[in-house]
Subunit: 335 residues, 2 copies
DNA sequence: CAAATTATGGCAAACGATAGCCATGTGATG
DNA sequence: CATCACATGGCTATCGTTTGCCATAATTTG
């Protein structure tokens, strides 16, 4: 079947001609309502509506120098953890009347760098979520672009991070209250900034509570790594396993159950992230929740704010975390 | 802490001045390599590199009329079903050197329409996934925009849809092979095009197999609707429930189990979509899988293709579906 | 060797919208 | 009634890039 190709869009000139005013007046009717007579304005808006006119963002950008477009880069779009971040960012961006460009860096620093370079001139700034770029790569990117880091912190660049210090303390407290005296941490990728934070926090909190934690791994933060990680847990005789993230935790639980280890009676398992799946696996997963939507929104708001001030002050925000206790944790079998 | 605001980007004029040629020559050095002397070109490219010059996509778009940007609109970004679509689309877009703009329509036709209108001038085309727009709204949108529909079909507009006819047949065959003689369909939102296709397919396939299906609902396609839907299943005394999607199915199973109904011994449950969660709930969910990544990619490729031809031929693609049999279905208790 | 090509690069006009500046008309103020 | 302020709208340069057209030089052709 055939249809015609989309007809040419109406421009500000069409609207101007049709309503018998100058283009500049049409422009003002849209952008500075007070600057033009109300009845003229109504008329123009009517004509514009009838012609299906919408201002061309490209042309606007060319003149004003900013594009009203923000980019969000995530390592892997399908990872449910980022779904919340994306949603929050999208909301915040839409609320401000801007447009969101989404980029998937495929967990690769090279891809991320290239994306930043290519998208750079087309957007007003970037939110880099769980960036894979090394510190100096980030600094270089920040020279030409406005950017906000999400769950990554380096001096001189704005960032929004989850409060892992508190979060890991909550985890340790929870385990301690159930009589656990030691735990293993199943580590994620070594490059992961949040992974480092989680481990550091865990260790500090454990020391305070007279608990011991041991780190094993690294494991890929996926369901598939569950078996290897679970087997290591069994070997360790630990009563509690804290996993780098929920995906890994769910994989671990599945394998433990397969091998006849009961969760939580024999081993308690905790994850990080509180992804969608944590609420539907069996047993329901105890996990440290970040407010990912808030984080995404906050990062975007910060970016917008940053773009508006002349000489900028770099800030950082820390977002609360809270432990969602479900069914995968319980009293230590040694108690 | 203070940093300076990002420095101004180099323009084509800077490069031209610095390399002692006219701006047009610089432009050609980038866009039509054969049109300029090789040594001049090398020189220009060198200078450009040194200045960190990257062409401004906005200015380019203004002149050429196309933006190398495509938009993907989905009803709800956090819905895991769309994660695959987004990923596939993102890949395809990146592969073609273009940019993806992601929009969340919040399940609202009004929001969708507004988004199309606002984004329209800034993108070369749209992939509308599970569009909430009524048919004529869609036709109107197609007049000014190049667009491809995903899991929605109306004459005159290109589309990519899952093969629900085959899919529902697979479902019915599977149930029949387990001795089920009737089933209930827990319907989703009445506006849902795919919901209609699913129901139509189910009914046709059931007739062929001498089975009966009854539709109940509508229910919101979410976990939260599970209880209401599950209770209706119990009341119906059905031996099998086919749910509008996996979210609903998981919610239904949870409620059934709570009420002492065993799955699949007492009732078999089937979903649609094969979302991430289908593989981690208990029992693992039998569900009809669509190849969402392929679908996203295919839609994007179709869109790109569509944008390139002069007088266009509107095509439609049908993508295969396959039943993933897991643990939530089994023999009918009545057999 | 004249004529015709071809290669190469410059000039200037778009593309669509914005904003600074100016011109006109209106009503208020003294 | 002169002066002034303000409201309103037009004119025009501008943003960064592409592209059609022209000029010049170099090369080929007969």
């Amino acid at each position: 079947m055939n249809t015609t190709r989309p007809r040419k869009r109406a421009t500000i000139l069409d609207v101007a001609r049709e309503s018998g005013v100058a283009p500049s007046t049409v422009s003002r009717a849209f952008t500075k309502p007070g600057r033009v007579n109300d009845v003229t304005r109504e008329h123009i808006l009517g004509v514009a509506e009838r012609l299906g006119y919408a201002p061309n963002p490209m042309a606007r950008a060319l003149e004003s120098g900013h594009t009203n477009t923000l980019a969000l880069l995530v390592p892997d779009i399908t990872n449910p953890y980022f779904a919340g971040v994306i949603k929050g960012a999208e909301r915040a961006v839409a609320r401000s009347g801007r447009t969101l460009v989404l980029g998937d860096t495929q967990e690769s620093a090279a891809a991320e760098e290239q994306l930043v370079r290519r998208l750079g001139p087309a957007v007003d700034g970037f939110v880099l979520s769980a960036s894979r770029l090394p510190d100096d790569g980030l600094r270089r990117a920040a020279e030409v672009n406005t950017l906000v880091l999400l769950n990554r912190a380096i001096p001189g660049i704005a960032s929004v991070v989850a409060d892992y210090a508190s979060g890991t303390r909550q985890i340790i407290d929870h385990l301690a209250s159930h009589g656990h005296q030691s735990a293993v941490f199943l580590a994620g990728p070594p490059e992961s900034w949040s992974g480092r934070m989680r481990w550091d926090g865990l260790r500090a909190a454990a020391t305070d509570m007279n608990m011991t934690v041991k780190r094993i791994g690294p494991y890929a933060p996926t369901l598939d790594s569950g078996p290897a990680a679970a087997d290591a847990v069994i070997t360790s005789h630990a009563t509690a396993a804290v996993c780098h993230n929920d995906m890994l935790a769910i994989g671990v639980i599945r394998r433990l159950v397969e091998r006849g280890v009961r969760v939580p009676q024999d081993v308690s398992v905790i994850g990080f992230d509180n992804i969608f799946g944590a609420d539907i696996c069996t047993p329901l997963l105890t996990t440290l929740a970040e407010h990912t939507q808030d984080a995404g929104a906050r990062a975007v708001d910060a970016l917008i704010h940053l773009g508006q001030q002349r000489s900028r002050t770099v800030k950082s925000w820390q977002l609360p975390t809270h432990l969602v206790v479900r069914d995968s944790t319980g009293p230590s079998r040694l108690r």
